[in-house]
């Protein structure tokens, strides 16, 4: 159940902070989830619990803010509580990882590294 929640909660958060992810194909969504899942699996369980806890907090706050996710995101990003800012930074970084580590997006970014022919 937690894994299903993580997947959906993470994608909701990701699409809230990185607009291009709202246009992702199902395959790109799956690649996003695969990237962060692999990253988190290599980390202690306490990190995974913190990430899920933060996603849960963001979802609950969105309900309290009557569905206005962008207001919640801005509140967490710029919170006067350092713990919330750091939590936002961590999960926002995972969201960035899940998008910008997809090499299939490099052309959209106008990122064309020199090819190495071996």
């Amino acid at each position: 159940m937690l894994e299903t929640y993580f997947r959906d909660g993470f994608l909701r958060f990701q699409k809230g902070v990185i607009p291009r992810a709202r246009r992702f194909t199902p395959e790109q969504d799956e690649e996003s989830v695969r990237i962060v899942t692999k990253f988190l699996q290599a980390r202690p369980a306490s990190i995974r619990i913190k990430v899920i806890g933060f996603l849960l907090l963001a979802d609950l706050m969105t309900i309290l803010f009557l569905g206005q996710r962008q207001k919640v995101i801005q509140f967490l990003f710029d919170s006067s509580v350092p713990l919330l800012r750091k939590g936002f930074w961590g999960v926002n970084t995972l969201a960035k990882m899940s998008v910008f580590c997809q090499t299939s997006l490099h052309a959209d970014l106008n990122y064309h590294p020199k090819e190495l022919l071996r």
Binding site: R20, F100, D108, L109
Partner: protein, 501 residues
């Protein structure tokens, strides 16, 4: 199961700028019958192991994928594990520390006069040179242009490459092994001289003449260790710890505690750094070519920071942009128009900034940003924004601006836009790769861990030879200084063993 035990005269732990140098300098002792081993936590990388994929290479090379968080989680540290240590993932910028640094360190015998011939040796060995101007890309030349038009000093970095083809992915390891790090320049000489290199060997604990370690299985398709995975012990007459600031401090803390060595793990400094991006109206040549060609030290004395050119990869850049949303996405879409600057604060070595151990015995770094360091970073951000605008940028992403972009018509008001109120720890991505201190040299056991030859106080046969020796920041990119000190430690070991170095 009986733990295997191997016997050596000298065991060196860690193969980066420190360990690789010590191995090469002590290798001639093998001809006189000495047995020397060089243990390395990471694997040996072949050119074909480098696929230049950002996430994959970060996992392969770096501890915590290059984002090792401090205890307060407002700073991440980058340090590598590989044969060659962090010299595999630096950009190869090769500066010598000025004499004032050694005067501040105040360690008897550790002077520029003593280190100069050592520096010169590695400058030659590592092919340190200035890249021809026609090889400098536009990202670098725009920085030079911006500095010059503002009347600020700007200098070209000497670099240590040979056969560089301008892939631009130095921080992901070099896929053609052009950087002359220890894996390329010193360790092959050491091996030829008889030093046995043992990759994928994680050292857990040492006592004065015994090393407890684990041979690790190879991951990510990298070459396995020549020894089978599992526990292993090494007996050695001399042990040289060269795991870098964090791992050397942690290893000594696990092994000896800090009762007899009250300064162990302390006086950590790291040149905390931020990345800024300026977007130009037109595409520029930025990601091909060596990423780091120039630096500006105009404000070094007045504000304690350095500015350097840099060029990173999509995720690394995105992570360092403060914020989220449409503007971030928009900037990321224009990667071929981006110029980047790295700002580094020269932070003091404070006793409370330290490497400690968590409950499992793993390193944890306690680092507090002083107001002086925050002030340096703020000034550095303002000055960098001016460079971008002077170079023609149409908009700049500057951390601590309170909004995502700053525009050219605001260049004269940067002091009011980039402010302390907007500098919120935990919101900005601050990272460091120049990790120093923890086993600092000195004479007083209350404030230092080793003597001026790297020998741990109170121990006859345990030495340190890496950046953890630095009593304070090197104030420049540190690898050549690590090598020069490691050369001195190797000389001291020879002297202690009664042989000519």
């Amino acid at each position: 199961m009986t733990t295997r035990t191997l016997e050596f005269d000298i065991v060196i732990i860690g193969s980066g700028a420190g360990g690789g140098t010590v191995a090469k300098e002590l290798a001639p002792l093998c001809k006189k019958g000495a047995k020397i081993a060089l243990l390395e936590w990471g694997a040996r990388f072949r050119p074909e192991d480098n696929v230049r994929n950002e996430l994959e290479m970060a996992d392969k090379y770096y501890f915590e994928s290059g984002g090792f968080p401090t205890a307060s989680q407002d700073l991440t540290l980058a340090f590598a594990r590989a044969v060659g240590g962090s010299t595999t993932v630096y950009t190869g910028t090769s500066l010598t520390a000025p004499k004032e640094v050694f005067e501040k360190w105040g360690v008897p015998g550790v002077t520029l006069e003593d280190l100069k011939p050592r520096y010169d040796k590695y400058i030659k060995e590592n092919n340190v040179h200035l890249a021809p101007r026609d090889e400098l890309n536009e990202n670098n030349r725009l920085f030079e242009k911006g500095c010059k038009s503002l009347g600020w000093s700007v200098e070209q970095f000497p670099i240590n490459t040979k056969g560089c083809i301008g892939l631009g992915t130095c921080n992901l390891g070099c896929a053609v092994h052009a950087k002359q790090g220890t894996a390329i320049a010193q360790i092959p000489v050491a091996e030829k001289g008889g030093v046995q290199v043992i990759p994928l060997c994680r050292v857990d604990r040492i006592s004065p003449n015994l090393i407890e370690a684990q041979i690790l299985p190879a991951e990510f398709g990298l070459t396995p260790s020549p020894l089978a995975p599992g526990p292993i012990q090494f007996r050695a007459k001399k042990i040289v710890v060269c795991g870098g600031s964090v791992q050397s401090s942690a290893l000594l803390l696990r092994s000896f505690g800090d009762v007899a060595l009250p300064a162990l793990g302390r006086y950590f400094s790291c040149h905390p750094a931020l990345i800024l991006a300026g977007e130009h109206p037109q595409p520029i040549q930025n990601i091909q070519g060596h990423p780091k060609s120039f630096f500006c030290d105009e404000f070094f004395d007045s504000d304690r920071f350095l500015l350097e050119t840099c060029m990173y990869f999509p995720f690394t850049l995105a992570k360092n942009l403060v914020g989220y949303g449409e503007e971030l996405d928009d900037l990321m879409s224009n990667f071929n128009r981006l110029q980047m600057i790295l700002v580094l604060a020269i932070d003091p070595a404070l006793r409370e900034n330290r490497v400690a151990l968590d409950r499992s015995g793993n390193p944890i770094v306690h680092y507090r940003f002083s107001e002086e360091v925050i002030g340096s970073l703020l000034q550095a951000i303002r000055k960098s924004a001016k460079i971008f605008f002077a170079a023609g940028a149409a908009r700049v992403h500057a951390p601590a601006a309170g909004r995502f972009f700053v525009y050219p018509n605001e260049a004269e008001r940067l002091d009011q836009i980039i402010t302390r109120d907007h500098f919120k720890l935990g919101q900005l991505s601050i990272a460091a790769a120049h990790l120093m201190g923890g086993c600092r040299m000195g004479e007083d056991i209350e404030t230092s861990v080793t003597d001026s030859w790297g020998r741990v106080h109170g121990m006859k046969d345990v030495y340190v030879a890496d950046s953890s020796l630095f009593p304070g920041p090197s104030e420049v990119n540190p690898y050549l200084t690590i090598m020069a000190l490691a050369d001195r430690v190797a000389q001291g070991i020879c002297k202690d063993m009664g042989v000519n170095s």
